[in-house]
Point group: C2
Chain length 359, copies 2
């Protein structure tokens, strides 16, 4: 169940690039339901954060976490962490439908919150989260890993900012995932808990669209879900796709699915095609199809001057985490604005709510 | 203006694979407005057809054609060809909006018709074409080149038929093209004539969806057009995309655009992703992005057993043309059914008619 078979345990390690001195930024982890918590903690630790303590009601999950991070303190309760004045931020990867309520408790305790995606599953949760941010001044930040923890995705953002493909007119994302039903937790198959495929793995896609296109808002003009081939899991969407149109005219299509076949070397051949007025970018994020033991971090740029392949594995790093730590310390919004994090969350919930079931 | 800069002159040459003896199948060409006529003629000649004569009112187009096919007879009028009892089929690449009226004349003259895509631009033309087929018993066949004249596309069909990816649940196509505005004819920028981007280059995509998924009909559930960056050509759609849902539950997304940048080695990096219940296929039809002087004909197969790359250039050939000749001689429908050809035509017209202009 390593990275190749299991997107749930995708937790890249980067080079340490601390933005603070040791002890300047202390965080803890609460709720280990999704393996993304390891990616969240790795990112913060590499950026100089100190992981102080952890709590989850499941001792097995605690055991595994404490083995991975031997210096972490095993807290006896969530409250122990929430009452710890030294802890500045809580990272969490709860069951998706519980992520907001955890966040409300974290922010009420005067700490910033850094949750796995999707950060919430309903518009009611979104309202509560927005109100709590307003009330407390704390952050509700999100681990949209398929952009912030993928080097090609970071590099794509840098190229776009430099004008390499002109104005972005469409972002097209493919987010296939391996189901691996046998080792998935039960909540993974309950729609009320995982939020539906467009909310769950769709949230990565919509966040990327907003980021790359610069759209501040968007309309979901068509969204679809299906259960094409898993009648044994009636609440599983094994397929979903959507079309969005941004407030700046840019458009977005994404497809997500649980159909990665067993013969594939990786849990999913994630792609992103970003079309601009002056060129385009393709990302092959995790692998090169048909090439044995291939690398991730592949980016192709074609514009009016060149057609170039870049492998950026180990070269770009993950600036999000350091920026997030500094944002928490300085109350800035360089890693990601709260508005952006919530807008992506809102749109993935709307895409799911409006979805037409086609199979 | 060779193949690399100019999709309009995409006219692949295959190995001769005659299905008839010399003289058993005689055809002519009328209307040389689109360079696809060369692909149409090459395919039929390689399959054993004899190209007897040609007519176009433009002497320059006739000159070029007669240079390419030195044995062809230069007819003085369309009627000369239509009255030639020896001619069994007329191939045509008229201005898109004129393709149907030419077809009606060809079928009325007792000959089968083989037109470039899109085969028509309105539902009224479609009705007239259907009525004429019924009245005459003749064929109105279509050169959907991005499937029938692309070896990876033919091979994909064979793999799907063998069950290599299980049941097809989605076909996703990217059909970028280089605009090359300076050498395009005037009609190319008049919507009434070219039919709009979803009708024109979208027709390739919808035909592939129907073919690979086995859907007999489909609904266009969302379609969009835009002119993002060509205000000097107000009737040009430089971008279009659409979502279709097949009558068998399979779904389809395609994007077409005129944004291939000058730095790209090819007129377009056409792709096709076919997702099945047991695996998927990606085609990189004309090139390998980022690889200098790359080949076309690239197909990737991943299923529960394997992840394999195939380059099929020169290996698969173009069986459509031989099947078409035999269909004409035997009044069978092995190359393509009339129903399929018309359904693809209908859906691309509907996609265009329903399109929301997003920019």
């Amino acid at each position: 169940m390593g990275i190749k078979s299991d997107g749930m345990n995708y937790a890249p390690k980067g080079k340490p690039a601390p933005v603070v001195k040791k002890g300047e930024f202390v965080f803890s982890a609460i709720a280990l339901d999704h393996g993304h918590i390891y990616g969240q903690c790795n990112g913060l630790i590499e950026a100089g954060g100190v992981l102080k303590s952890v709590y989850d009601p499941d001792p097995q999950k605690m055991d595994k976490f404490c083995e991975t991070y031997p210096n972490v303190k095993r807290a006896d309760s969530e409250d122990e962490i929430l009452c710890d004045k030294e802890v500045q931020l809580v990272a969490g990867a709860a069951v998706t439908s519980e992520r907001c309520s955890l966040g409300l408790r974290v922010m009420s305790a005067g700490k910033d919150y850094f949750t796995d995606k999707a950060p919430l599953t309903t518009l009611e949760q979104l309202s509560a989260a927005k109100a709590k941010v307003k009330e407390t001044g704390k952050k509700y930040m999100v681990y949209y890993s398929e952009r912030i923890h993928v080097e090609s995705a970071v590099f794509a953002g840098q190229l776009i900012e430099q004008g390499a493909i002109g104005k972005v007119i469409q972002v097209l994302g493919l987010g296939p995932h391996r189901l691996g039903a046998s080792w998935r937790p039960e909540w993974f198959f309950k729609k009320e808990k995982y939020g539906g495929i467009l909310c769950d793995i769709g949230s990565h896609q919509i966040e990327q669209f907003l980021f790359y296109s610069g759209a501040k808002d968007a309309s979901v003009v068509r969204s679809q879900i299906a259960n094409y081939n898993h009648p044994q899991y009636p609440e599983l969407d094994d397929f979903g796709d959507a079309v969005l149109v941004g407030d700046n005219g840019a458009s977005h299509y994404f497809r997500v699915d649980w159909f990665t076949p067993d013969g594939l070397q990786m849990w999913g051949d994630g792609r992103s095609f970003i079309l601009g007025t002056e060129g385009f970018i393709e990302q092959r994020k995790y692998m090169q199809l048909g090439e044995k033991d291939s690398k991730g971090g592949n980016l192709y740029l074609a514009n009016n001057k060149e057609e170039t392949f870049y492998n950026v594995e180990g070269k770009v790093g993950y600036p999000y985490f350091g920026e997030l730590i500094l944002d928490c310390l300085n109350r800035t919004e360089n890693a990601m604005t709260q508005e952006h994090a919530f807008k992506a969350a809102e749109l993935c919930v709307r895409a799911q709510m409006q979805a037409v079931k086609i199979a």
